[in-house]
């Protein structure tokens, strides 16, 4: 791979080139093996401090990042707080500047507001990794999804990938759309019209409200989590109604290709967007996604820390 990693931060996949995405995927491949060793630790990030700065509850992503950093021998600090630091009277920027003053190297950040990591990236010197911002992007999730697809299908170009569910509020959907389309996949998004973001077709995806269309011919089906609290907002009439139209069950799976991959970013609402027999079935790679998540995050930490060394 000819390109070198030059960015201070990983904020989104929208601004990355196909080559940069390929570079991360390639680097991921070499890190995956570490987690399979009996002693899962390398000294790559020894002496570096990584702060996990989570303004939104998260188990999976936080644990994944934490293990990734620990397996690379970084020192870790966990900050978990309420969505709005304004309640404490300290602004996000002030909090970040305080962390910066403690001379940390990388801040991994999750926030319920879209753009929060972008704001910090422009105002503090440590590298910022976006671990999910509002409805905007979740770049490492997009990368681990793409890595998992590539492991199975050996390529991304020309694949039909369907993303089904609440597209409007999904940062996973956006990161997948950018990453997959940049690498040449044909992406279909499917969900109720009420959960479809405006003008999404202009991102180069096909839009359908008919799950049949999304299932037939798909090489990959990525089922998104439905946030149950959306129910009271009239975004769909009821969970039952949603499941009937957009839930993936054994009956609908009959329309799928024989070698389809079923993915889900988790946590799964069993029986809502996906039935247990599909989630646990032979096509499902949901747990592989989780395993690959650590490797992707190790690769990202490695690439970002490498930049710092060169700069210093």
């Amino acid at each position: 791979m000819a390109v070198a990693w030059k960015r201070k931060d990983l904020l989104d996949l929208e601004s990355l080139s196909a080559e940069e995405i390929e570079l991360i995927l390639e680097t991921t491949g070499s890190f995956k093996e570490i987690s399979q060793r009996p002693i899962k630790k390398v000294p790559t990030l020894r002496g570096q401090t990584v702060v996990l700065f989570f303004f939104e509850p998260s188990t999976r992503t936080r644990t994944s990042f934490e293990l990734a950093a620990k397996r690379m021998s970084a020192d870790i600090v966990n900050i978990q707080t309420n969505a709005s630091s304004l309640t404490k009277g300290e602004t996000l920027k002030d909090t970040a500047r305080n962390i910066e003053a403690m001379k940390v190297n990388i801040i991994i950040m999750r926030h319920s507001c879209s753009g929060a990591p972008h704001m910090l990236a422009g105002s503090v010197s440590p590298s910022i990794i976006n671990a999910g911002d509002g409805s905007h992007e979740h770049p490492t999730q997009g990368l681990l999804d793409i890595f998992t697809i590539k492991e199975h299908k050996k390529k991304i170009e020309g694949l039909n990938v369907s993303i089904i569910g609440d597209i409007a509020h999904s940062r996973v959907a956006r990161s997948n759309i950018w990453g997959l389309t940049k690498l040449g996949a044909k992406v279909t998004v499917c969900g109720p019209a009420t959960l479809m973001p405006p003008e999404v077709e202009k991102l180069g995806v096909k839009v359908t409200y008919d799950i049949k269309e999304a299932i037939e011919g798909a090489d990959v089906i990525n089922m998104l989590r439905i946030q149950l609290e959306r129910q009271g907002q009239n975004l769909f009439p009821s969970i039952r109604d949603y499941s009937m139209a957009f839930g993936l069950d054994a009956g609908k799976m009959k329309m799928a290709k024989k070698d389809v991959l079923i993915m889900h970013p988790g946590p799964v609402n069993r029986g809502v967007e996906i039935t247990p027999e599909v989630a646990d079935g032979p096509y499902s790679v949901i747990l592989e996604q989780v395993t690959n998540g650590i490797a992707v995050r190790m690769a990202v930490l490695y690439l970002l820390s490498g930049v710092k060394e060169r700069v210093e």
């Binding site: 709005s84 926030h111 704001m119 409805s135 905007h136």
Partner: protein, 429 residues
């Protein structure tokens, strides 16, 4: 001392005038307008190459006094106005306390007089506390000097209350200025709804949130027979709704702000909170429609919606940032650059949108024209003046503008209020 402005290009739509002439100012009034005026004992001001306009009037300002004097007050706001060429402003009622009774109206009138730089007028709220429930005491408010009624910042949600307010306001010849926004459609929205909001993962405000209320309020205006003025029009569809209403002879006027014909939603990309404003910046198509509306007379007024906010309110997550931008210092330059230089408006149109039309809306006596006997509020505009927008040179207490770093063409050279030079070549007098 009397002042004589020599050889400027005098633009005065009230008298269908656009010609090189002199203006004599005496005892706070315009004493004489004509060519080659010869007067002794008057200060001679050479205005060759400059445009002499009736003092600019902003029909939509927030000076944050009372309540948020850390963001702006009558003095700093007045200085910003003068630097931008404005001699009069109309302050909105969403202060703390709200301008919803005679006492607050009187407070503003007396404090504004103490500031003593420009003419500061006030709106009073349509409903108490801007809550949309109970009418304010209009007879008293009107007698105390309020020039219009508005719950700006919020719509009057209940159309029945708006109808009664307008019927009542009609008796005092007060226009009702409507902030057209359907709060259900716009709920939690922080920018224009469309491809960009999808890309940025931000909740959009659909254009319909504005236009459905424009359409509703036009019908209420027709029903009540009162004067309706629609604030800060931002969409193509709203312009069209007003155009049709005017054809139907409904008493409706409207305004837009420079940011709606200079900027598009692209200004918020990179999550720039200085470009977060309500209604939100829209698209190029809307910009074109607004320019068309200005040129064909559908849009009567260019206002600033000058909305100062402290850095603490802007330097936060986009979702949490306050809406609004400052505008008084830049509106005339932007109107000159985008409209006059690009032949959307001629100088007469410029003076209409920024002076006589706001004066008519608010029934300001002896303002908005250069007629002999009128108040000597005069803006001498220098089309060759330039300014770079930098924090250090902003007069307003707040610096929230997406124009930082931009080069502006056309500046106010001299501003005369009540016959006195208050601002001259970058200096306050």
């Amino acid at each position: 001392m009397d002042i004589i402005l020599k050889n400027g290009r005098v633009v005065d739509p009230a008298n269908s005038m656009d010609t090189e002439a002199d203006i004599l100012v005496k005892a706070g009034k315009i004493a004489q307008v004509g060519k080659g005026l010869k007067v002794q004992d008057a200060r001679q001001v050479d205005c060759k190459g400059k445009v002499v306009l009736p003092g600019l009037i902003d029909s939509h300002t927030h000076f944050r006094q009372p309540g948020r004097e850390d963001e702006e007050d009558f003095v700093t706001g007045s200085r910003a106005a003068l630097k931008g060429g404005f001699t009069s402003v109309l302050c909105m009622a969403n202060t703390n306390p709200v301008v919803d009774n005679k006492g607050v109206v009187e407070y503003i009138c007396s404090e504004a007089a103490k500031a003593g730089l420009i003419n500061i007028y006030t709106v009073a709220a349509v409903t108490k506390g801007l809550e949309g429930k109970e009418l304010t005491e209009t007879a008293q408010i009107s007698a105390a000097g309020a020039k219009a009624l508005s719950d700006d910042g919020k719509p009057v949600i209940n159309p029945e209350i708006l109808r009664r307010a307008m019927e009542y306001a009609k008796m005092f010849n007060l226009p009702v200025i409507s902030h057209c926004e359907d709060p259900f459609l716009s709920r939690n929205g922080v920018m224009n709804e469309g491809l960009l909001s999808t890309r940025m993962g931000l909740k959009g405000i659909p254009r319909a949130a504005e236009t459905v209320m424009v359409a509703r309020d036009i019908e209420i205006a027709r029903l009540s027979g009162a004067r309706l003025h629609i604030a800060h029009v931002s969409t193509k569809e709203s312009v069209e709704a007003v155009r049709q209403a005017k054809k139907r002879k409904i008493a409706v006027t409207c305004e837009t702000c420079p940011h709606y014909f200079v900027l598009t939603e692209e200004a918020v990309s990179e999550y720039n909170t200085n470009a977060k404003v309500n209604p939100p910046l829209r698209t190029q198509e809307d910009v074109e429609a607004i320019k068309k509306g200005l040129s064909d007379g559908t849009i009567d007024i260019i206002s600033t919606d000058h909305a100062p906010h402290s850095a603490e309110e802007k330097d936060v997550e986009f979702d949490f940032a306050a809406t609004g931008m400052i505008g008084l210092e830049f509106a005339a330059s932007l109107s000159y650059m985008e409209l006059v230089k690009k032949n959307v408006l001629d100088w007469k149109g410029f003076a209409e949108k920024l002076s006589i039309n706001p004066s008519r809306l608010l029934s300001l006596k002896n303002k908005g024209s250069l007629s002999e006997g009128a108040d000597a509020d005069i803006t001498v505009f220098d089309p060759s003046g330039t300014r770079k927008v930098e924090i250090s040179s902003i007069e307003s207490k707040s610096k929230n503008t997406p124009l930082l770093g931009r080069e502006l063409a056309g500046t106010a050279a001299i501003v005369i209020v009540g016959g006195k030079i208050k601002y001259e070549n970058g200096k306050f007098c």
